[in-house]
């Protein structure tokens, strides 16, 4: 072998920030091939994907509408991933957050109070956290794999949502459509900018970014998460409880996903529907990695992934491309990122033996 791969003694900082850029460039290059295969002019497709959607002020505001749930969820997941807690059931936690958070409106829809929305947000966080508490309990008590349990609960949560909208939560005046009643003004997320759908949830997401940054860099729990995640044995010697971290990571991730779910139903959706998320909980996994598990990185990665949703829609309308292109794009970017990560952890060297032989 001419090339030799050596483990780096310490992570290359520059590479950590450069790999997402490499990944994006490689994804773009591959998608040019993909667009050709689909019989679309690559330049036109890229223009439709990345420029057109955010050409207008409204388009730009939509970036924040789509990015809000992604950023909220990814912030929650990143804390878990840092601690090696693999919560991949955010989609279910989002659903339960939306359900529990809006329950107060569904049952007391006459309430007209400025406390209604804060109560709903709080309940949304609680709903998501409770749903994530199940894998946390099963992991800490029975050592059941949290990847599988949290994911199974996604299907349970979505089916539960379906029970509600087809049954007890169906709008009595809704002509039998499987939809809840529309949220009243006091249950709606306030709009931040007139004429757009940008809502208060975006501020919550920015607050989460700042809060998580402070938590991870300045607090003891943040320190414990990092130590347990990178060197569990050392963490054990230091007296950090792994169980406590598992609980914290899952509850925090669940609460964030729950808030994301509630902010969707009381924001752009405005009611409970059988389907309240186009897979935000899963895309947020990509956002978390692409953002290098760092709050600020996640902010940018969330907006980029939001752009792929918007771009997919634009390309569908203008070029007749299937919406699924978005998913392929998102998966590809994560693939390339993981592949490029080899540059972070390892150093490539020309093998001197190989040189001599040639």
């Amino acid at each position: 072998m001419l090339l030799k791969i050596e483990k780096r003694a310490e992570y290359s900082r520059a590479m950590i920030y450069l790999t997402p850029v490499f990944a994006l460039i490689l994804t773009m290059l591959t998608s040019i091939v993909l667009f050709r295969l689909l019989g679309v002019s690559p330049m036109e497709a890229l223009h439709n994907f990345f420029i057109l959607p955010i050409n207008t002020e409204y388009g730009l505001s939509e970036l924040f509408v789509k990015g809000t749930p992604l950023i909220l969820i990814a912030i929650g997941l990143s804390v878990g991933f840092k601690a090696n807690v693999w919560n991949i059931g955010a989609e279910g936690q989002l659903t339960m957050g939306a359900i529990v958070g809006s329950s107060i409106f569904i049952y007391f829809h006459d309430i007209d109070s400025i406390f209604l929305l804060p109560a709903m947000i709080l309940l949304g966080a609680i709903g998501g956290a409770l749903w994530a508490a199940i894998p946390a309990y099963l992991k800490t008590r029975f050592n059941a794999n949290e990847i599988l349990t949290s994911l199974m609960l996604v299907y349970v949560a979505i089916l539960f949502l379906s029970v509600l909208v087809h049954g007890p939560w169906r709008d009595p005046d809704g002509f039998n459509f499987p939809e809840s009643r529309t949220f009243s003004e006091s249950a709606d997320m306030p709009i931040l900018m007139a004429g757009t759908r940008m809502h208060f949830g975006t501020l919550l997401a920015l607050f989460a970014v700042i809060g998580a940054w402070i938590m991870m860099s300045k607090t003891l729990i943040g320190f414990q998460i990092k130590v347990i995640g990178s060197a569990p044995t050392a963490g054990g010697y230091a007296g950090f409880s792994q169980k406590k971290i598992i609980w914290f990571a899952l509850l925090f991730g669940g609460a964030m996903a729950g808030i994301a779910g509630l902010s969707e139903v009381s924001g752009p959706i405005d009611q409970i529907l059988p389907s309240i998320s186009p897979g935000y909980g899963f895309t947020a996994i990509i956002v978390a990695f692409l953002g290098r598990l760092h709050p600020v990185g996640i902010l940018f990665a969330g907006l980029l992934m939001a752009l792929t949703y918007l771009g997919g829609e634009t390309a569908q309308i203008n070029l007749g491309l299937p919406v699924a292109v978005t998913g392929v794009f998102q998966g590809m970017i994560l693939f390339y990122l993981l592949a490029c990560d080899v540059l972070v952890h390892y150093r490539f060297r020309w093998n001197s033996f190989g040189k001599a032989a040639s």
């Binding site: 050592n143 599988l148 199974m152 089916l159 029970v163 899963f282 693939f335």
Partner: protein
């Protein structure tokens, strides 16, 4: 006898529900035995399902459909191999990426085929023998893939425990450093195990779109890839128990359909939750016994191998 008329159709549906799980789980078992955890089963199944379906619709050749599904699953697994084995990426993250990618890719590939029906995989019907009550249709009236699933379980079991190659594969999974130091190619062996797992997942997916519900729908695996992963834990990495587990889950899946038909007064969605809840329950029951898991799980599972020399 007429009171037992329901038995045969129930058993037949259990078999069709269990077969995709058998394929996916037995393939992933080999992958895990080599020390690699590939969480991309769901994605590989989906790509297999759509490849099989599209091939069958376009060519009408079911043998080719299943073969290409295996190739497609194997290719997805090969991508996973490049990332985790050659580029030493985290296996958990890469497996998730493979599933997310597979969901999108299969939806893209199947875009024009959604809702189109295709003739179901033909059954092996032996005139005379298949007409024997109960035993006839169950034992002699299945499609080829059902028989193949049993053959694969037997083959994998024989390979792992009775052949030298199987011993080497297990050694690689239990101690890659030791296997490497006596001269075995850890990476090469793992590539083969990973690709085999992907091919089996691909066939499992094709079974869904060609026999279980002969059609293509986005995300039609509905978590079966993940259930297959849980089955391996349930089976404590033993091929025979994978078969038992898959049939148990097949039974639960079918139970919900029949409970509905029997007029059970519950929303249908509650019954649909059963397989997922059962998976969680099974995981809890098995994982409780830590020592048993540790004794049977491949020691190197999920660990990155980087040769020192």
């Amino acid at each position: 006898m007429s009171g037992f008329d329901w038995i045969v159709p129930v058993i037949l549906t259990v078999i069709t529900a269990a077969t995709p799980l058998v394929f996916a789980a037995i393939g992933e078992l080999v992958t895990e035995k080599s020390g690699v955890l590939n969480l991309g089963v769901e994605g590989m199944m989906l790509v297999g399902a759509v490849t099989g379906f599209v091939t069958a619709t376009v060519t009408g050749n079911y043998f080719l459909a299943v073969a290409l599904a295996a190739v497609a699953g194997g290719f997805m697994a090969f991508l996973f191999g490049i990332l985790t084995l050659s580029l030493m990426a985290n296996q958990v993250a890469t497996g998730l990426a493979l599933t997310l990618f597979g969901v999108g890719l299969s939806a893209l590939m199947g875009q024009e085929f959604v809702g189109e029906p295709v003739a179901s995989l033909s059954k092996l019907n032996i005139p005379g023998i298949s007409d024997i009550p109960i035993i006839g249709p169950i034992v002699f009236g299945q499609d080829g893939l059902v028989y193949l699933s049993f053959v694969m379980v037997a083959l994998v079991s024989w390979f792992l425990y009775k052949t030298k190659a199987g011993l080497i594969l297990r050694a690689v999974g239990d101690s890659h450093d030791a296997a490497h130091s006596i001269g075995y190619s850890v990476i090469g062996i793992r590539y083969m195990a990973v690709i085999f797992g992907g091919a089996m997942s691909g066939i499992g997916g094709a079974y869904l779109s060609l026999a279980y519900t002969p059609m293509w729908a986005e995300n039609m695996t509905a978590g079966r890839g993940w259930i297959a992963l849980a089955l391996i834990v349930f089976a404590t990495w033993k091929p025979g128990l994978v078969l038992v587990g898959a049939y148990m889950f097949g039974g639960i899946t079918i139970l919900q359909l029949h409970a509905q038909a029997a007029g059970l007064d519950l929303p249908s969605q509650v019954l649909s939750m059963l397989p997922y809840l059962a998976t969680v329950l099974v995981l809890v029951l098995i994982s409780k016994d830590q020592s048993r898991i540790r004794k049977h799980a491949p020691a190197c599972i999920g660990k990155i191998f980087h040769p020192a020399a």
